[in-house]
């Protein structure tokens, strides 16, 4: 095609009248845009199971796509609190869907959308749907925790600066990574209804674990692995809509309080989806995806409503109808924005109205690809 273009261009010059040839015309030069446009972003991990996934970067105000950072398959995304660095854990199979699998921790420069580091992980990282609890940064920002499954569960501890693996911590029967506040390590949810608090040494190379008293009943009413931190507490929600407020700061995780989100509400409403809740801290409001007529097996149903729940007053402030939201994230501002993704490739932007109980108002929509179940944002 290039040769033909050159031939055609040459023929044009020969045949063109003199007057036309003298007209000022500056050929354009192809180049690469150096950096993304400034402004706050929302990140969506567009996971793929048969090829490359990507971290999509959108402008929070317009949902304009600023660009993609490419990963391997079946991965997880992690965004640093400053919004400048992102990581992804993903699988690179030699023949895309077969052959040896190399699992890689990539480090991205978000402004330039470039890969600035790669580290090979132990070949155990969980190949799962997108869940933020499966790839986490320690509270001090120095360590990265990677959820493994062989299917035996463990966590790879890696150096956040270099990606180098420091150790593998066995976490038998436990799942999800919840960085400890104020110290190095993480809590994890265990299948017997307890939490395990894993303290990691300063150099990241050794660890010790301590089990909590039972926190929840995994048979009668299991909790989702999606978590939110607010006011020093760690929040989870159960299949039946019980909100757990936990203290992760001690030697073991302690249960502070439980409240029923759906108390007094008719219609069999329950939480559902994937990244199904997010707290707007200044407002003290939990946004949570809800579906009616809940039953055994409906816990991944997409949301028909998003409820705004006042964490201090312990009451539902508003219920907003939405179109099949599977995952969401809320911004931290006084008047939070909420972004929601669907399983069929939509990203919704909602504005909220504090005077109306933080009810959601549709304020934009754009397209996504893959399995877009993990969202994050930095203001």
């Amino acid at each position: 095609m290039l040769k033909l273009t050159h031939v055609a261009f040459g023929a044009f010059l020969v045949a063109a009248p003199a007057a036309l040839a003298e007209d000022a015309f500056t050929p354009e030069q192809v180049s690469v845009k150096e950096a993304i446009d400034p402004g706050p972003n929302v990140f969506v991990y567009q996971e793929e199971w048969k090829g490359a996934g990507s971290i999509a970067v959108f402008a929070q105000d317009s949902l304009k796509l600023k660009g993609l950072m490419s990963t391997g398959a079946m991965g997880q995304m992690l965004v640093a609190p400053d919004g400048k660095t992102a990581w992804a854990q993903s699988s690179f199979l030699k023949r895309i869907v077969y052959g040896p699998n190399e699992q890689v921790l990539q480090t991205f420069d978000i402004d330039k959308l470039t890969v600035k580091g790669e580290a090979i992980l132990p070949p155990k990282a969980a190949m799962a749907l997108g869940y933020s609890a499966l790839l986490r940064l320690s509270t001090d920002g120095k360590l990265i925790f990677v959820q493994n499954a062989t299917p035996a569960s463990s966590v790879t501890v890696a150096d956040a600066a270099t990606g180098a693996t420091l150790q593998e911590v066995p976490t038998p029967g436990c799942w999800g990574i919840y960085p400890l506040p104020g110290k190095s390590g993480f809590a994890t949810i265990c299948g017997d209804g307890t939490f395990s608090t894993v303290t990691v040494s300063a150099d990241g190379k050794t660890a010790s674990a301590e089990a909590s008293a039972p926190i929840f009943d995994p048979d009668a009413d299991p909790i989702f692995i999606e978590d939110e931190s607010y006011d020093g507490a760690l929040y989870f929600v159960s299949y039946k809509g019980v909100l757990y407020k936990l203290d992760p700061s001690g030697k073991t995780v302690a249960k502070l309080e439980t409240t029923e989100l759906t108390a007094g509400v008719e219609g069999g409403w329950a939480p559902g989806g994937y990244q199904l809740m997010s707290i707007a801290p200044k407002a003290g409001v939990l946004f949570i995806q809800m579906h009616p007529d809940a039953k055994d097996g409906s816990h991944k149903f997409v949301a028909k409503e998003i409820w705004a729940y006042d964490l201090k007053a312990k009451k539902v402030l508003s219920r907003s109808k939405v179109e099949d939201v599977a995952s969401l994230v809320a911004s931290k501002s006084d008047t939070p924005l909420v972004f929601g993704s669907t399983e069929v490739g939509k990203l919704f932007r909602f504005e909220t109205d504090p005077a109306a109980g933080y009810a959601l108002k549709s304020a934009g929509e754009t397209a996504l690809t893959g399995f877009p179940l993990t969202l994050d944002l930095v203001e």
């Binding site: 079946m74 299917p151 799942w175 299948g191 995994p218 299991p222 692995i225 055994d296 816990h299």
Partner: protein, 177 residues
């Protein structure tokens, strides 16, 4: 029922990867063969079905008896593409793919005999995802990864040499007690 499932999940987490693979093999298809009976003829496995157990009773919902529908009773906790619509069968991976060495387990009620069966959802591996086939996402009794043996948001090809997810089969491995 839960004791058995607890055992399955407990074993999975406590065992090294190699033994996890052996366990899945022994509690998977072999149990299916042991419990239902089978004969080997010329190297082929043929299930023995001595008589029609339906006694003329049909499920209230026709889709529950249609193995190409996501509402088929065995698929009560299946999250994936149906192998029987991608060159395989209800219990066989499509030609050229590999059966997963580990699996998750659901407990589904057969509407014909009213009994609860343990269903092993094995993924089939080493091919691209079969999006030609129906994608089902039913989650009765499904639990997050802290009950790994009941979890379906993960690639169960994870213990195979080739981990590309292709599709999922539903194999009866026992009666829930």
């Amino acid at each position: 029922m839960f004791n058995l499932i607890d055992k399955l999940t407990g074993w999975m987490d406590k065992m090294a990867e190699g033994s996890a693979r052996r366990m899945a093999l022994s509690t998977g298809r072999r149990s299916f063969l042991a419990r239902t009976g089978a004969v080997i003829v010329g190297g082929a496995l043929l299930p023995v079905l001595p008589f029609d157990r339906t006694f003329g009773v049909l499920p209230a919902n026709a889709a529950e008896s249609d193995e190409f529908s996501c509402e088929y009773w065995r698929y009560c906790a299946l999250d994936g593409n149906l192998c029987n619509s991608c060159g395989g069968t209800l219990t066989q991976c499509p030609p050229g793919s590999e059966a997963s060495k580990v699996s998750w387990v659901g407990t589904c009620k057969n509407p014909v005999d009213g009994k609860d069966y343990l269903v092993s959802y094995n993924d089939c591996c080493g091919r691209s995802e079969c999006d030609n086939a129906p994608f089902c996402n039913t989650n009765q009794g499904e639990r997050p990864g802290y009950r790994m043996g009941l979890h379906n948001d993960i690639n169960w090809c994870m213990a195979n040499a080739s981990v590309g997810y292709h599709c999922t089969v539903a194999v009866l491995v026992g009666l829930a007690e």
